[in-house]
C-alpha cells in the first residue's frame, strides 16, 4: 500500500492533466467551429466590388470635343471627397452615386448579417464596421462643407478644418474606395478573421495606389493605351477587381470547406 501511494497520486495527476488538456482542446475546436460558421464577409466584398464596377460610367470623363481646348470646371466643388475634383469636366452624379452606394451597401450588409445570423444561429458583432463606415462617410460629406463655407468672423476658425483634408487622396475621385477599405479593416477586426485582414490590407494597398497614381500609366507600359475619356477607369477597376476576386475566392473556399466537412 505504501508503495502504491505515490504511483496512484501520479496516475491521478496524469489523468487530471489529460482531462484538462482535453477540455482546452475541446474549447479550441468549439471556438474554431463557431468562428467558421459565423464568418459571412464574402457578401460585402462581392457587393462593394459590384458597386465599384457599377460606378464605371460615372468616371468616364466628358472631354470637350473642340480640338485643343480643355476646360477645368471653375468654382469650388461641393463634394470633393466623392469625386467632384476628378477629370476635366467631372461627372455631376459621381458624388451622389457614391454616397448612395456607400450607405445603401452598408444597409444591405447589415441586413445580410442579420439574415445570416438567423440562418446559422450565430450573430457577428458588426457594429464597429457600421459605425466606422457611417462616421467616415458623414465626415467626408460634412468636413469640406464646414471648411470652405463663408462664416462671420467669430466662426472663421471652422475654415481651419481644412487641415484635416486628406491631401492628394481626394484628387482622383477614388476616396470612397478608402472609406470601404477602412470599413473592411474594422469588419476584419469584428470577424476576428486573419483571411479578411489580409484581404483588407491588400485592398487598402490597391485603393491607395488608385488614389495616388494613374494606373493607366502601368497599362501604357504593357501596351494598353486608354483614351483620355477612359483614363480613370483602371483606377476604378483595380480595387473593384481585388474585392470581386477576394469575395468570389472566399465564397468558393467556404463552399469547398462545407462540402469536405
Amino acid at each position: 500500500m505504501a508503495d502504491d501511494g505515490p504511483e496512484a497520486a501520479s496516475e491521478a495527476a496524469r489523468e487530471r492533466l489529460g482531462s484538462q488538456a482535453e477540455l482546452l482542446a475541446e474549447m479550441k475546436v468549439l471556438r474554431r467551429q463557431a468562428r467558421a460558421a459565423r464568418h459571412a464577409y464574402w457578401f460585402p466584398l462581392v457587393l462593394f466590388g459590384l458597386l465599384a464596377c457599377a460606378s464605371v460610367p460615372f468616371y468616364v470623363q466628358q472631354v470637350p470635343r473642340a480640338s485643343g481646348v480643355f476646360a477645368i470646371r471653375s468654382g469650388g466643388p461641393t463634394l470633393p471627397f466623392f469625386g467632384s475634383y476628378s477629370g476635366f469636366l467631372p461627372p455631376r452624379y459621381l458624388p451622389y452615386y457614391w454616397i448612395a452606394a456607400l450607405l445603401g451597401g452598408l444597409l444591405a450588409t447589415q441586413l445580410w448579417y442579420r439574415w445570416h445570423a438567423r440562418r446559422v444561429g450565430l450573430a457577428t458583432p458588426a457594429r464597429a464596421y457600421l459605425i466606422t463606415t457611417v462616421v467616415l462617410t458623414v465626415a467626408a460629406i460634412v468636413l469640406p462643407l464646414l471648411s470652405v463655407a463663408k462664416y462671420p468672423p467669430s466662426w472663421r476658425w471652422l475654415n481651419g478644418l481644412r487641415v484635416l483634408w486628406p491631401g492628394d487622396l481626394v484628387l482622383r475621385g477614388t476616396f470612397p474606395f478608402l472609406i470601404i477599405a477602412v470599413g473592411l479593416l474594422a469588419l476584419a477586426w469584428s470577424e476576428r478573421s486573419r483571411a479578411l485582414t489580409v484581404i483588407a490590407v491588400v485592398y487598402t494597398g490597391a485603393a491607395l495606389l488608385a488614389s495616388l497614381y494613374d494606373v493607366s500609366n502601368l497599362l501604357y507600359r504593357v501596351g494598353w493605351n486608354t483614351s483620355i475619356a477612359d483614363e480613370s477607369l483602371p483606377n476604378v477597376l483595380l480595387p473593384a477587381a481585388v474585392l470581386l476576386l477576394a469575395g468570389a475566392g472566399t465564397l468558393a473556399a467556404r463552399r469547398l470547406h462545407r462540402t469536405t466537412a
Partner: protein, 135 residues
Amino acid sequence: MTAPEPGPPDAAPEARPPGPAPPEPAQAERADEHPTNGLDETVHQRHRLGILTITAEARQAEFGYLREALGLTPGNLSRHLTVLEEAGMVEVEKGYAGRRPRTWVRITGQGRKALARELGTLTELVRRHGAGAGG
C-alpha cells in the same frame, strides 16, 4: 459527459530553504497558490465552459446552435443556461423569427472575465504539469 472535478494540489509545499527573508504573507500566498484554486465551479463544468466559449465568439448565439454544437438535449441546455444566467454570466433573450420562437444567448462582461480566467487557469495547469512531466 461529466466535468472533471478540480483536485487538490499535486505537489506538497516544500520546506523553505535557508536564505533571504520570506516575502510578505499575501505575496507568499499568491506565489504558492496552485492554479486549481482559480477554477470556478460554475464555469469549469465542460458544457457551461462550452456555452461561454461559443457565446464569446459571437454577439449572440441561438439556443439551437448551442444545443447542436454541445450535443445536449434542450432540457439539459436550459439547466446549464439557468446556472450561468443566475451567476450573471449570460443574458437570455426570447423572441420570434416569424412565427418560430427563438432564444438568443449573450455573454456578459462578467462571463467574459470568468471565461478568460478559467481558460488561463487551465492553460497554466496544463503548462505546469506538462513541464513537470517533461522535466
